[in-house]
Symmetry: C2
Amino acid sequence: MTALTDAVKWNADGLVCAVAQDHISKQVLMVAWMNAEALRRTVETGFAHYYSRSRQTQWKKGEQSGHLQKVRALHLDCDGDALVLLIEQSGGIACHTGRATCFYREWDGTAWQTRLPVLKTEQEIYR
Amino acid sequence: MTALTDAVKWNADGLVCAVAQDHISKQVLMVAWMNAEALRRTVETGFAHYYSRSRQTQWKKGEQSGHLQKVRALHLDCDGDALVLLIEQSGGIACHTGRATCFYREWDGTAWQTRLPVLKTEQEIYR
């Protein structure tokens, strides 16, 4: 599967930016990073795998929380440095805070307002 | 407007990842980068400004092509290192190749396939 990874313009750290989007609502759920191994594992297994820059390791999204992301389509941009994954979000929760999406803060002209409810507490998710 | 930029976790280069999404179709159009000045200019003017890592300068999207992006909403993620802009795309073309979105390549299991038509040639856009 060199075709898969050869088209990607990996950054200096060997990573590419990946946007996960709900395949039906089209809501952007999260932005994370992949290394080549995470991208290969994503395609091979059909479930999103990312690379954690803080933990310096590959991880399967939802491994601990159960909030897996089943990949329905995978897109690459014109210059090859960003991916979009159209996914099915298990549990309808992508964010570790228990919200549907990580992008729950909105700029109202003066401040960042929290817009979305916590569907499940972190304690409930990671018990 | 320190509240705007203080909530952002800027990377080592002083940049944050920004995803532009059509405010109606919710199609992801492009992923680019912003520095603090580009984010401030985006909010002040209501039009998307980004930071070019190759040219090392701030730019207004559509300045040359006319394909401006009017910002309808601005979201920040849980850890503050990614933005989503819900925008109105002038001309219905976000990509420099003349396609609606930069994410016109799709993985079909074997190869990256080009899925979207060129609505306007680069020559026509940048004449």
